[in-house]
Amino acid sequence: MSEPLVSVKNLKKYFPIHGGVLGGVIAHVKAVDDVSFDIYEGETLGLVGESGSGKTTIGKTILMLYPPTSGDINFQGTLINKLKGEELRRLRRNFQIIFQDPYGSLNPRMPISEIIGEPLVVHNIYKTRKEILDRVVEVMELVGLRPEYINRYPHEFSGGQRQRIGIARAIILNPKFVVCDEPVSALDVSIQSQVINLLNDLQEKLNLTYLFIAHDMAVIRHMSDRIVVLYLGRVMEIAVNDELFDSPLHPYTQALLSSVPIPDPEIKKERAVLQGDIPSPINPPSGCVFHTRCPVAMPVCRELIPEQREIKKDHFVSCHAVK
């Protein structure tokens, strides 16, 4: 593969916890801890993990919606974590986000013409209101919204339609890279497939690159070219879609995949059920963060943080037990 479009190196995002008499920082939530991966042009990189594993935080930190604690985010050769104010603002037209919650992410006091058209106004793309509205209508048709809804407010739409509005807002600037932050998990199952197909169509038409965040393994499998498995803010395994599902190497990935129900009552399968809950990211386990729940944990796992090693071509695993 060629140069990556987005390259994330040793990204950390710690959220401070304030407390005590003087309100000082008493601890950190280590939401994202030393995460590295590349995203190549035109692909969909799936990001999967339990709730609390830092999926959304990674997505939002890559877009500099949260300033990273440390690490680099390289977007087409620009280290965007080094950019400030106006420069970053101007570059934002190249990378966009589709939010999880189609209700909270649309300003309730704006008609959708303004919501969808705002990126054009902010980046001074067009001179006249007419040009802006023409482009808004064009994008509305592209995402499957009827143009006559242009003056309505978000509350007049259903969840699926609202998500289409959010998608329209994200693609109106023709971005190169879009973070899809669990775009379907708030929707009815019947609407989910529509939105997923829409995202696939748009990727093809507009040559988009996606970072697709989800916790639903079926959705991830359908969407992704390559998949990153997260646990407690750290990368466990990165592999090409089919390879990850067919021969997962990391014990956490194996447990995660065996939790996916198979829609066939005849098939009995051995399930690797994990004991206990995901530990607190305020005080994560030493060494490998997964060792407290790992079926194959060894003494070394408690001591040393496993390195991310390329076991096979394009298949990265962070585990002492995998040889």
């Binding site: 934002r92 037209r93 939010f99 909270g104 309730p108 704006m110 902010v122 407010y153 497939s193 529509q194």
Partner: protein, 303 residues
Amino acid sequence: MAISQEYESELTTYKAETYWQIVFKRLKKHKLAIISLVLLIIIILACLIGPFFVKYHYNDMSNYDPDNPFVGEYKPPSKYHLFGTDELGRDTLSRILYGGRISLFVGFASVFSAIIIGVFVGAISGYYGGILDTLLMRFTDIMFSIPVMPLLVVLATIIPGGGVWKIILVITIFGWMTDARLVRGVYLSLKEQEFTEAARAIGASNSRIIWKHLLPNSMAPIIVSSTLGVGGNIIYEASLSYLGFGIMPPTPSWGNMLQNAQSAMFNAPWLIWFPGIAIFITVLAFNFLGDGLRDALDPRLKL
């Protein structure tokens, strides 16, 4: 899939009501608020156009007439002077209507300027947070801890002139803090909402987010606070004028009419009644209307 799409479009083809239509529908259920609204419209219209229709100018003195016992000084209400006359024989009705213009103008204008300062301070403070927030809020606290009435008196004395603008200025200086705190609180919660993040993600500047995204979403509490504030400021103006530091005679205001009347309280009680009733009804109506709006604009009113 075709079925669910049809269903989806079915749901949204009806013409939905706008936000303000919903608010007004809810306000209509609040009887007292609607009565108050109607009363206030009548009072405001009367003060605005009433002075053009009354027989006497507010400074005209009705001369003593040996043949007519109802004209002259200190005359009780009669068909010649509906609300009676004062110590100089001036028509009380005309003075009430004209004074109402002054009192209401002071009420509205001082609320307006206080809101502008309060929204500005509160928005900056709530949105940016950090050291700026601490500085602005401690300054607000300091302003809050100053006993208002004595200082109003001092300020009203040292600022020269007895004009309307001086009173508006003085009331504004001590009136913006509640709004600042209110708006700060609203901004603190709004800035954590996802649509604020969405605006940042598309590259909107801070000022665009503050004024274009967050301000329209904080209008409900601002409107309620303003409505209640108009009533409160009419009381302030009346108190200041009553103490003799407000609107200076001969310009009438409801407050200085009361002050004027107290020397003749027992001989000419109508001079107390009418401005007193005017203040009472107006302020009460503003308070009821504010209460009604508070319910109608309830943030739980989901769009």
